[in-house]
């Protein structure tokens, strides 16, 4: 990393005179208008033309950083004109097309009087006069949108689905809402009501699920308008209110959820409502089905005119309910006949991905090194497996089956099946499976087969998931306890029924996970 002269960036086509004009973000109370006084000179004191050009350049820099292979922004030119690639951050000049290393930045500034640089790993703006990173409201907004969504303009799917333009009007918001107290952080324990820890961990995962939170806090289900008795969705609504609108710090008593749970007579889950310990995953399935039926489909027993009568639950794919929007993805299985090459494709939707550890832990390829979540997913969703299949064409039995994810959910739930049946005896598998804080799901999708480099960076970024909640089961099969870890911002918390404590990342990652909830990054 010797001192380096600026080099011109490749792949920055200067689109001449883009007709688009940019705007400084409107002044908001409590937020300075610009990141620093120098940036103010650049953006405000040079007329609209300079401002437009600067913002346009910033966007171009972000595109270079986020839309291409990282080699491009990481490469600068040496004094002799040789390309020089480094792992540590480079700086992209905002005022010309040069890329410099950290040392070269100073010289570039001295030579050309260029004062603003974009850091090549995160796209943050560096002001050489402040000698510091600056965070300008206008530019930060662009950066966050680009790094999160991969696009400046594309809206989140959810925005369209669940927003009502009238309700977005700030005046409407001001008159119809109250500001939540600063203390209400959504971090509370839930009391154990007698072997209900399986319920508590799932409820905690719901409370910290950004989609469900926004849905319920955004009046997605108004308990005042709900005529259904003992409605689970109303109970959820109450719970979200309790968590996010009250200053209470003691545990929450989820009695109404418990009552709704007991009173909901769902055939498949009848066995679940007992005072015994239960499987958290089963409760998760129950809760999602229940909420789906309330929010999307029609209630089985109730014949009421629901204005939002959506597609009935027979066709899950078409359902627009909050549960489907949040948890459901699609799996595509491709069966290729080994003798005639006939392909049959079937698609099914999934609520969660289940990884059977009993089978996976026995595979040779996984035995050698420790099990990791990615390896398990590799086995299930990127390697073809042999299967029995009677082909329509040649009626041969041998075929290759390939499972791929066709569409990914916003919140990905992964279950590590830790229960094994052996000779009718069930036992728990205590194998440790490591899991990442950040999960790349792109390799397991059906688009990963023929990677198209042009798009794949953007695609891969939109398939990046962040760990949100980990549900852990301690104890054995007969009796045990569930605890969960959830992330709020960057801080992890351990939820042990009513008791909430701080947790470190290493503590979280070393746990023996049972359920993992990942939230797609482009959402946050």
């Amino acid at each position: 990393m010797s001192s380096i002269m600026p080099s011109s960036r490749p792949a920055t086509p200067a689109t001449p005179a883009s007709p688009k004009s940019f705007k400084i973000r409107d002044p908001q109370p409590g937020v300075p208008l610009f990141g620093c006084d120098h940036l103010q000179m650049l953006l405000a004191n040079g007329g609209p033309e300079r401002m437009n050009k600067s913002i346009h350049n910033y966007k171009t820099c972000l595109r270079v950083i986020f839309d291409n292979t990282p080699i491009v922004p990481q490469t600068s030119k040496t004094t002799k004109g040789h390309p020089f690639t480094t792992l540590t951050p480079n700086y992209l000049c905002l005022q010309c097309s040069a890329t410099t290393t950290e040392q070269g930045r100073r010289e570039h500034g001295a030579e050309f009087s260029h004062r603003f640089y974009v850091e090549s790993r995160n796209g943050c703006l560096y002001c050489q006069m402040c000698d510091d990173f600056v965070f300008d409201p206008t530019l930060e907004d662009l950066r966050l949108r680009k790094s999160g969504r991969g696009s400046y303009t594309r809206k989140r799917k959810l925005d369209e689905l669940f927003t009502d333009p009238v309700k977005e009007d700030p005046r409407f918001i001001a008159t119809n809402t109250v500001v939540a107290p600063c203390r209400a952080s959504g971090i509370r324990g839930i009391y154990n009501m007698g072997a209900t820890c399986y319920m508590n961990v799932i409820l905690q995962s719901f409370v910290h699920n950004p989609l469900l939170r926004n849905f319920y806090l955004g009046d997605g289900h108004q308990s005042a308008d709900c005529s259904y008795k003992n409605c689970m969705s109303c109970a959820m609504d109450d719970m979200f209110q309790e968590f996010y609108a009250l200053e209470l710090t003691t545990g929450y008593s989820a009695t109404n959820i418990l009552a709704s749970f007991w009173l909901s007579k769902r055939k498949a889950y009848e066995e679940l409502a007992t005072n015994k310990e239960q499987d958290a995953h089963e409760f998760f399935q129950f809760l999602t089905e229940e909420l789906h039926e309330i929010n999307g489909g029609s209630r089985p027993t109730e014949i009421e005119d629901n204005l939002v009568k959506k597609v009935k639950s027979e066709n899950d794919a078409g359902c627009k309910c909050i549960v489907h929007q949040t948890f459901y993805g699609k799996l595509q299985s491709t069966i290729t006949c080994q003798s005639c090459g006939d392909i049959s494709i079937s698609v099914e939707s999934f609520l969660d991905l289940s990884l059977g550890l009993d089978v996976l832990s026995k595979r040779k390829s996984l035995k050698a090194s420790g099990l990791s979540l990615q390896r398990c997913l590799d086995e299930e969703y990127s390697r073809p497996e042999r299967c029995e299949h009677s082909c329509h064409q040649c009626s041969k039995q041998e075929a290759k089956k390939q499972l791929r994810i066709k569409s990914l959910p916003n919140v990905l739930c992964i279950q590590l099946k830790r229960f094994k049946q052996y000779n009718g005896l069930a036992s728990k598998i205590d194998t440790k499976v490591s899991f990442p804080l950040q999960l790349e799901m792109f390799p397991y999708t059906n688009r990963a087969k023929n990677p198209d480099t042009k798009q794949s960076y953007e695609l891969a970024r939109s398939c990046t998931y962040d760990l949100q909640t980990v549900v852990v089961h301690v104890g054995n099969l007969e009796t045990g306890h569930y605890v969960s870890y959830s992330r709020v911002g960057d801080q992890w918390f351990k939820f042990n029924d009513h008791n909430v404590t701080l947790a470190t990342k290493s503590q979280v990652l070393s746990e023996q996970a049972f359920l993992l909830f990942y939230v797609v990054r482009s959402l946050a």
Binding site: P32, L87, D131, F133, T255, L258, A259, H481, L502
Partner: protein, 472 residues
């Protein structure tokens, strides 16, 4: 971060090694060095961003506040006239007509962080536990505070009443002097944790005890930890017991009694009891707390029952009583609570018995279960009409095989006995494990179980079942 260029480039320190000439080794070190640098860079940048943005907005809030104070009065008569420029300048920022411009690096000019929501200063250090600093008592801080990291405390610095030892949890796992001492003061809930604890020292924060909560179905208040068990009685329908519960309902329709809860009507029907010996005070003060779902009826009603029920109880009381007396020698040891007298009358009631029966299987006492089953069978055989009901009770376990005559004659005396035994329990003596002399052992087992449903005992039972089954 801002001083990156000035600080000497430090990297990972490679131990001096004679093999340093190895090219690949040097490359690996250099890559590792860069990666570690990147990790630190990104981390620092993230924190830096957070801090700088909140300081920037603090500066903005402060100057806006100042501007609001010095704002020129708005002249209504002169609305058409150009509004004079309102400009305020401080060290950190400039305010000009509603716009705020930063003047210098807010990290340098602004010391505190003000909450953008409530405009109160943020407390920057936790007030307790790791890294704690004493907050200035004269300053009102924003309520969003740093989370506390302290053993046996949660993130808000709260402590909770410990639960008693239960399955998978040993006494030694829960040694916590603070909580132990705190627990001693509180009468209910955790009596099964036997360790004598040191006297509570002064100034300790009081642990938060478990709350009571209203059942959504029947609107009674119960301790939160009983709620799930209560659901079995109150709602039922879940699990395998539902059919039994339904059957029970059908059968008991004649009585007007319902699954689990006896409506007051049925009780009103029973003639008033002649003087019921009531050796105890009405009910122990902590009755509510101790009260579990089995006695979910509100206490006023209960009192009524007491008075009216005795004749009715007489018929059935014998078994109860007997069992209770036997019970006294049984595994009562966990519970030393004063039994409310009223509860006894509850026991007399068929339906409630059903309830209790249901409760019985809860405690996952392996010893008890088989006995119960057998008892049931016996019951089947001998089943007198009223007993059948019990058979169908959710727990399904109300074996009362004692021949009616027997039970009849001994009724009164035995009742007293129960009370005595209860009193004894009150004294806090753990009772020796029982074994009953008369009748077949199975029967006795059943009987004892019955006995359990006697008030004090029931509590014990539920208490124990609670802790046992609590998955904590």
């Amino acid at each position: 971060m801002s001083n990156n260029d000035n600080s000497p480039q430090t990297g990972i320190i490679i131990p001096p090694d004679e093999n340093r000439t190895d090219n690949m080794g040097a490359l690996a070190h250099s890559i590792l060095d860069d990666i570690v640098y990147n990790i630190i860079h990104d981390l620092v940048l993230k924190i830096h961003r957070e801090e700088k943005m909140s300081k920037g907005s603090t500066a903005a809030i402060l100057i806006e506040r100042k501007a609001a104070q010095t704002a020129p009065p708005y002249d209504e008569s002169n609305a058409a006239a150009p509004i004079p420029t309102h400009r305020v300048e401080v060290d950190s920022a400039i305010y000009e007509n509603g716009k705020v411009y930063l003047k210098e690096n807010p990290l340098k000019t602004t010391g505190e962080i003000i909450c953008p929501k409530c405009h109160l200063p943020r407390l920057l250090y936790p007030s307790d536990g790791a890294g704690a600093r004493k907050p200035d008592p004269l300053v009102e801080y924003c309520k969003k505070r740093p989370y506390i990291e302290k053993p046996y405390h949660d993130i808000y610095g709260q402590t909770f009443q410990m639960e008693g030892p239960g399955r998978g949890k040993k006494k030694k796992d829960m040694i916590n002097p603070l909580l132990q001492s705190a627990k001693e003061g509180t009468p209910s809930g955790s009596q099964d944790s036997p360790n004598p604890s040191p006297p509570p020292s002064e100034g300790l924060p009081k642990p938060i005890s478990f709350p009571h909560s209203k059942c959504q179905n029947c609107n009674t208040f119960l301790p939160i930890k009983r709620m799930n068990n209560h659901m079995v009685k109150c709602i039922g329908g879940g699990g395998r017991d539902s059919s039994r519960a339904a059957l029970l309902k059908i059968q008991s329709n004649g009585n007007g009694s319902q699954n689990g809860n006896t409506p007051p009507g049925s009780r009103a029907g029973t003639p008033a009891p002649p003087g019921v010996p009531n050796p105890k005070g009405k009910s122990s003060p902590n009755k509510r707390e101790a009260g579990d779902d089995f006695e979910s009826d509100s206490s006023p009603q209960k009192k009524k029952k007491v008075l009216k029920k005795n004749p009715a109880t007489k018929l059935k009381a014998p078994k109860m009583a007997k069992s209770a007396s036997q019970m006294s020698s049984s595994n009562l040891s966990f519970e030393q609570k004063a039994p409310g007298t009223d509860d006894e009358d509850d026991d007399g009631d068929d339906d409630n018995d059903g309830d209790f029966g249901a409760s019985v299987p809860e405690p996952k006492k392996k010893a008890v279960k088989p006995v119960l089953k057998k008892a049931k069978d016996l019951n089947n055989i001998g089943g007198a009409q009223p007993k059948k009901k019990w058979l169908h009770g959710k727990g399904g376990v109300k074996p009362n095989l004692a021949p009616p005559s027997e039970s009849l004659d001994s009724a009164g005396g035995i009742k007293l006995k129960i009370k005595n035994s209860n009193a004894a329990q009150n004294g806090g003596k753990p009772l020796p494990p029982k074994n009953i002399a008369n009748g077949s052992p199975k029967l006795h087992g059943a009987a004892t179980i019955n006995g359990k449903s006697a008030p004090g005992v029931v509590r014990a039972d539920s208490e124990s079942s609670q802790t046992l089954s609590s998955p904590n």
